[in-house]
């Protein structure tokens, strides 16, 4: 069965992916392809398996069957840190930052150098690191808060900081789980602008519920339902799909 999986031009090729928890199939023979430089948004009702899908791709959860190929390399059996080093970045649903470290340190720790034990011991804060931190901080609008303890940031700023930490790694595939949850209207606008800027030169998968926000950023939308893909296409196509309407209104 594994031999059927073919090499593709896609950045990410998820094929026949299944994961079951005590017999319950949270992801059920799912197949999904993401193009180079594409910003894909995944929507779907609660419990559709959206977050589980991201967990599987980044290695947090192990697949029961199927394959996950990133640039044609199999990811599903690699340890998490190697998946990250291959170029996949993942932002968690609740902001996951180091509250006790400064904004600068949060970004610095995410810089992809000195990742081994002895590398970290020998790591020096040189101009390359400082420049990278400065440019990412400017991108996420935290250039003036670099010395602030990250725990003191507002909720929206914490979300941006975590996105910034991923940008430090310059991943080829960036996965964001509900990046605007808990944000004000103004912050949502800024985040939409940010995502449009940072998707240049990389692929992104975004899970989101806010349809207005999805319309603003999505190149293509995938609708998930009960661990399967229900529909895929442009926002207009998906919104007009009777099955999608049924799932969203029928419950």
């Amino acid at each position: 069965m594994g031999a059927v999986m073919s090499n593709t031009d896609f950045v990410l090729a998820v094929e026949d992916l299944t994961v079951s928890f005590d017999g319950f199939k949270a992801i059920d023979a799912l197949t999904l392809y993401v193009d180079k430089n594409e910003l894909r948004v995944i929507i779907g009702p609660n419990g559709a398996g959206k977050t589980t899908l991201l967990d599987l791709i980044c290695g947090k959860t192990r697949a029961s069957a199927g394959s996950i190929k990133f640039k044609n390399a199999e990811m599903s059996r690699l340890p998490e840190y190697q998946i990250v080093r291959s170029g996949i970045g993942r932002k968690f649903q609740t902001p996951s930052i180091y509250e006790n470290l400064s904004v600068f340190q949060n970004l610095e720790v995410s810089f992809p150098r000195g990742r081994g034990v002895f590398g970290a011991l020998a790591f020096k804060r040189d101009d390359e690191v400082r420049d990278a931190v400065q440019s990412v901080a400017a991108e996420i609008g935290l250039a003036d808060q670099l010395q602030l303890e990250a725990g003191l940031l507002s909720h929206g700023q914490k979300q941006w900081l975590e996105i910034g930490m991923l940008l430090m790694q310059d991943p080829e595939l960036l996965m964001l789980d509900e990046p605007i949850a808990g944000m004000s209207v103004r912050e949502r606008e800024l985040t939409a602008e940010l995502l449009k800027r940072i998707c240049k030169g990389r692929s992104m998968i975004v899970i989101e519920h806010d349809m207005e926000f999805v319309k603003q950023i999505a190149h293509k939308v995938t609708v998930m339902h009960q661990g399967k893909i229900l529909a895929e296409g442009s926002m207009e196509q998906v919104q007009a799909d009777p099955r999608v309407i049924d799932v969203y209104l029928g419950h």
Binding site: K60, P79, E99, V117, A120, L121, Q169
Partner: protein
């Protein structure tokens, strides 16, 4: 002139956090030798050998967030490594000629062992013994740590497993008394490469050696804390998954912290043997291992210098109380541990950073405000109240989490 030098040195001390280390060095290397007689100083030296274990626990438990209740294992391995060398040197054929097999340690002879076991042979050589003291515990910590942390065993389960290792090693040492000296341990250690370690002069030298190595260990640990590795250890304690999904192999960083703690403990154990003149399983097992955690907890598990004070204070208390109230000592120690954990979770260092220092700063700024008001007419105020330095604050908040 001196004022200018002081003005330059003080900010450096504040910034690097080396002020408290210098103060400790001064206390250990100057004040104690002047204030105590040799008997008490030798006791301090013994306590300082425990302080190495406490330092390791600051790195492993305070920074790494992993509690080991089996550090006595590594203390013991270091101590026994040194004791084996010293015991062989003390067991030359001439002094042991009344034994049925001269030239082997006395306890072997008592247990009808007739030849030196093969694995004892290399301990005739001092360089080998030194390397073994440094390598064996580190290697054991690597194996245990790798097996546990790679499987993501942590927290209580890890603590229990380290207890089990401590128990296993104690049982092994006691059970194999023909090879280890059993419950009595290794006693009658006399000379190190022909140098009598029991003389007054030797005791002074060993004390200063311990102090020098301890200060060196503090400087080393503090440079590790300041490196990216130190930041990562803190980050891991806070948000393990975020570190993992930033491309780090979290397990290997924990293995490193565990190996470092084991290495420090082992050095402490070797210095203990040298200063006290014996090594026994009573320093290896579960109870001493937990006592060592108490040293770090009382001193403050986030503070290297605090851990040394913790080790000194608890052991002074132990010596004093067990001399005066032998039956009450254990209860007192338990009360002290509970009191510290409940009232000052960051130990003495936390008490200083969170309570004493802010109080002192407030007092000082109030006083300088008063002088400001008094001299309000005179222009140009030379350096007003500086406020709490950033280092102090972040130290305090880290400890609180």
């Amino acid at each position: 002139m001196t004022r200018i030098t002081m003005n330059r040195i003080k900010p450096w001390l504040d910034r690097s956090g080396m002020g408290s280390v210098m103060l400790l060095a001064l206390l250990l290397a100057v004040v104690f030798p002047l204030a105590f007689d040799l008997f008490r100083l030798n006791l301090v030296g013994k306590y300082l050998s425990y302080a190495f274990v406490a330092l390791g626990l600051v790195m492993l438990w305070g920074y790494g967030g992993v509690l080991s209740l089996g550090q006595g294992v590594f203390f013991g391995l270091g101590g026994y490594g040194m004791a084996m060398f010293l015991k062989l040197e003390a067991s030359d054929p001439v002094t042991t000629k009344i034994q049925s097999t001269p030239g082997i340690p006395d306890f072997m002879d008592w247990n009808q062992v007739t030849a030196l076991p093969l694995w004892w042979e290399p301990f005739r050589h001092f360089p080998f013994a030194l390397v073994a003291i440094l390598v064996v515990p580190t290697l054991l910590a690597f194996v245990i740590g790798f097996a546990m942390f790679k499987r993501r065993v942590g927290g209580v389960y890890f603590a229990i497993i380290t207890q089990a290792v401590a128990l296993i090693l104690t049982v092994l040492i006691i059970g194999q008394q023909g090879y280890t000296g059993g419950v009595n341990g290794m006693t009658d250690l006399k000379t190190l490469l022909g140098w009598d370690t029991r003389t007054n002069g030797a005791k002074y030298i060993l004390y200063f050696l311990t102090v020098a190595l301890l200060i060196g260990a503090i400087v080393l640990c503090s440079s590790i804390q300041k490196s990216k590795l130190g930041t990562l250890l803190l980050a891991m304690r806070d948000k393990e998954d975020r570190v993992r999904f930033s491309g780090y192999d979290v397990a290997m960083f924990r293995v490193f912290a565990f190996c470092l703690a084991a290495l420090l403990s082992s050095i402490g154990g070797a210095l203990f043997t040298l200063q006290v003149g014996f090594m026994s399983p009573s320093l290896v097992g579960i109870v001493p291992s937990i006592e060592m955690v108490i040293f770090a907890a009382v001193g403050g598990r986030m503070s290297l210098v605090g851990a040394v004070y913790g080790a000194l204070l608890v052991n002074f208390g132990k010596t004093y109380f067990s001399e005066s109230f032998p039956d009450l000592w254990l209860f007192l120690m338990a009360a002290m541990f509970l009191g510290v954990v409940l009232a000052f979770p960051d130990g003495l260092a936390g008490l200083y950073a969170n309570k004493l220092k802010p109080w002192w700063m407030r007092r000082r700024s109030r006083r300088s405000e008063a002088t400001d008001q008094a001299t309000a007419a005179s222009p140009g105020r030379p350096g007003g109240p500086a406020g709490t330095p950033a280092g102090g604050r972040s130290e305090a908040t880290w400890g609180l989490s």
